[in-house]
C-alpha cells in the first residue's frame, strides 16, 4: 500500500547522491590530474519481489514488487585533461597513455595522472601527502630542484648525471582500476609499462571535468529530484483521500 512512498524516497536519495558527485566534479574542475566521476543507478525490483515459501525456497512473488533505485556503482572518466604550462621544474604532465607510480605510506603502489611533485627533506621526489614517486629502479633521489626531465622520463641534474627514470605504467583494462582518495587509483591486475606516452616537464595535466557537461547533468539531476518530490506529494494526496474521504462514507 505504501510502497510508492519508499520507491520515490529511494529516487530522491539516489538523485541527491548524484548531485553530490556532480558537485564534487565541478569543484575539482581546477585540480590537476582529477578524473570526473559518474554515478550509475540500478533498479532492484527483483530482490523485493522475492519471498520465501513454506519450504524455505525463494520464489518470485506474485504481487507487485516495491521497486527502488539505488546508486550501484561509480564510473571514472579517463579522458585526458588539458595540459597547462606552469614553469615549475617538479611539474610533469603525461601526454598519452599511462600513470605515475607512487609508493604510499601503507606500502601500496598508487597510480595517478597528477604530476605535481615536490621534494622531501631527504631529497627524494615525492607526491605531497601521498609518498615517494617510483622510478624504474625504485625511489628517485633528486636532491635539487634544478633538474631536467626528458620525454621518456629520464631525470638528470644540471651536471648531466642521470638520477633515475620515471616509471609510467598502464592497465590493460581501465575497469580494473579502483578509485581511491586524492586522485589516486589502485590496480589489482598487473600493470604493463606504457610505451605510448611523452612526458612534458614544466607542465601539468589539469582536471578532465567538462563544465558544460557537469552543469547540464547538475540541472538534470536537480530536476529529477524535484520530479520525485512532486510524485511523492501525489502519492501522499492519494493516501490522504483514502484516509479521509473513503472512511467518511
Amino acid at each position: 500500500m505504501f510502497s510508492g512512498y519508499y520507491t520515490i524516497a529511494s529516487g530522491l536519495l539516489a538523485n541527491q547522491r548524484n548531485v553530490e558527485t556532480i558537485g564534487n566534479n565541478l569543484i575539482n574542475s581546477q585540480t590537476p590530474g582529477y578524473r570526473a566521476e559518474r554515478i550509475v543507478n540500478s533498479a532492484f525490483e527483483q530482490e523485493l519481489m522475492t519471498r520465501r515459501d513454506s519450504s524455505g525456497n525463494t520464489v518470485l512473488g506474485d504481487g507487485i514488487g516495491a521497486t527502488a533505485v539505488v546508486v550501484d556503482d561509480s564510473l571514472t572518466v579517463y579522458n585526458p585533461g588539458l595540459i597547462k604550462e606552469t614553469g615549475s621544474s617538479f611539474d610533469v604532465a603525461i601526454n598519452g597513455e599511462g600513470f605515475f607510480n607512487i609508493r604510499g605510506a601503507d606500502g601500496k603502489t598508487y597510480l595517478t595522472r597528477s604530476g605535481e611533485f615536490d621534494m622531501d627533506r631527504e631529497g627524494y621526489l615525492i607526491m605531497p601527502g601521498v609518498g615517494r614517486v617510483l622510478g624504474k629502479s625504485g625511489e628517485i633521489l633528486v636532491r635539487t630542484s634544478d633538474i631536467t626531465i626528458k620525454e621518456d622520463g629520464t631525470i638528470m641534474n644540471s651536471a648531466g648525471n642521470v638520477l633515475g627514470q620515471l616509471h609510467i605504467t598502464a592497465p590493460e583494462d581501465y575497469s580494473t582500476l579502483e578509485r581511491t582518495e586524492n586522485g589516486l587509483f589502485i590496480s589489482e591486475a598487473p600493470l604493463n609499462d606504457s610505451n605510448n606516452f611523452q612526458l612534458l616537464q614544466n607542465n601539468l595535466e589539469l582536471s578532465n571535468v567538462q563544465m558544460n557537461t557537469e552543469l547540464t547533468n547538475l540541472i538534470a539531476a536537480q530536476r529529477a529530484l524535484q520530479n520525485c518530490a512532486s510524485a511523492l506529494k501525489t502519492v501522499d494526496s492519494l493516501n490522504r483521500k483514502a484516509a479521509t474521504q473513503i472512511a467518511a462514507i
Binding site: R17, Y34, T144
Partner: protein
C-alpha cells in the same frame, strides 16, 4: 543535510584563497626581486556512499588550495644608474644579517651605512649584506678624499645557492628565509653567478599569467557557488514536500 553544501563551501574557500594569492602577486608586479607564489588544488577526503556494503561507490568531499612555493627563476633585469644597484645573473641569492637570523634576497638595491671610519654595505632596511664567509662587508673610508671604493665592496659580496629554492619562506621586504626543505645555503661556485652592477631584478610576476589564473579562479568560485545554490534549492524542495 546534503553533502553538496559543504563540498560547495570548500570550493568557495579554496578559490577565494587562490584569488588572495593571485591578488598579492599582481599587487607586487613592480616589486624588485619579488618571486611569484603559485597555488594549486587538491581533492579532499572520499567516503563510502553506503556503509557496510562491499565495493560501495566513493563520494568526494571537495577541494583545498595548496601552495606550490615561489617561482625562484631568474627575473628580468633593468638598468639603473646606481653604483650599488646589483642584480644576480644565475640561481644565487644575496645573504643578509637580520635581527633574527639570516635572510636571503634577490633584490640588490643596497646602500652604505657609516659607522665611524668604516662603511658597511646594507640593504634598504639596514640589514648587513654578507660575504661568502657570512661576515659583514665593510670598507675603510679614505681620509683625504672621503670617498668609498664601492667596487671593492661589490667584489666581497657572497652569493648563496639552495638545492630547492622554490621552498623558501617569504618574509616581508623582498626577503626569504631558509627552512628544512630548501637545504642549507651554500656559497655558490665561482662562475655560476654574475653580479651585474647598475641593474635591478624586476618582479618575477607575469601579469598575463596572473590575469589568466584570476579568471580561472573566478570561474571556479562561480561554479562552487552554483553547487551551493543547487544544494539549497534541493533542501527547499525537500522542505516543501509536506506543503
Amino acid at each position: 543535510m546534503i553533502n553538496a553544501f559543504y563540498t560547495g563551501a570548500t570550493g568557495l574557500n579554496a578559490f577565494q584563497e587562490s584569488m588572495d594569492v593571485i591578488g598579492n602577486n599582481i599587487a607586487n608586479v613592480n616589486t624588485n626581486g619579488y618571486k611569484a607564489v603559485g597555488t594549486s588544488f587538491n581533492d579532499l577526503l572520499y567516503s563510502e556512499m553506503y556503509v557496510n556494503t562491499p565495493n560501495s561507490p566513493l563520494i568526494g568531499h571537495g577541494v583545498k588550495a595548496t601552495t606550490k612555493g615561489i617561482e625562484a627563476g631568474q627575473g628580468i633585469t633593468l638598468p639603473t644608474s646606481g653604483k650599488l644597484d646589483l642584480a644576480i645573473a644565475g640561481r644565487g641569492w644575496f645573504a643578509l644579517e637580520a635581527e633574527n637570523g639570516k635572510l636571503y634576497t634577490r633584490d640588490g638595491s643596497f646602500a652604505i651605512s657609516l659607522s665611524g671610519n668604516t662603511a658597511y654595505l646594507v640593504n634598504k632596511d639596514g640589514n648587513y649584506v654578507l660575504d661568502a664567509g657570512g661576515k659583514r662587508i665593510s670598507a675603510t673610508i679614505d681620509q683625504k678624499t672621503t670617498s668609498i671604493d664601492t667596487d671593492a665592496l661589490v667584489k666581497q659580496i657572497g652569493i648563496f645557492e639552495f638545492a630547492y629554492p622554490e621552498a623558501l619562506t617569504p618574509v616581508s621586504s623582498n626577503c626569504y628565509r631558509a627552512n628544512d626543505f630548501t637545504g642549507t645555503a651554500t656559497a655558490a661556485a665561482q662562475g655560476d653567478n654574475t653580479i651585474l652592477v647598475g641593474y635591478l631584478e624586476q618582479s618575477g610576476v607575469s601579469i598575463t599569467d596572473e590575469m589568466a589564473n584570476l579568471i580561472t579562479a573566478q570561474r571556479g568560485y562561480q561554479l562552487s557557488a552554483r553547487v551551493v545554490q543547487v544544494a539549497d534549492e534541493i533542501e527547499q524542495t525537500v522542505n516543501s514536500l509536506r506543503a
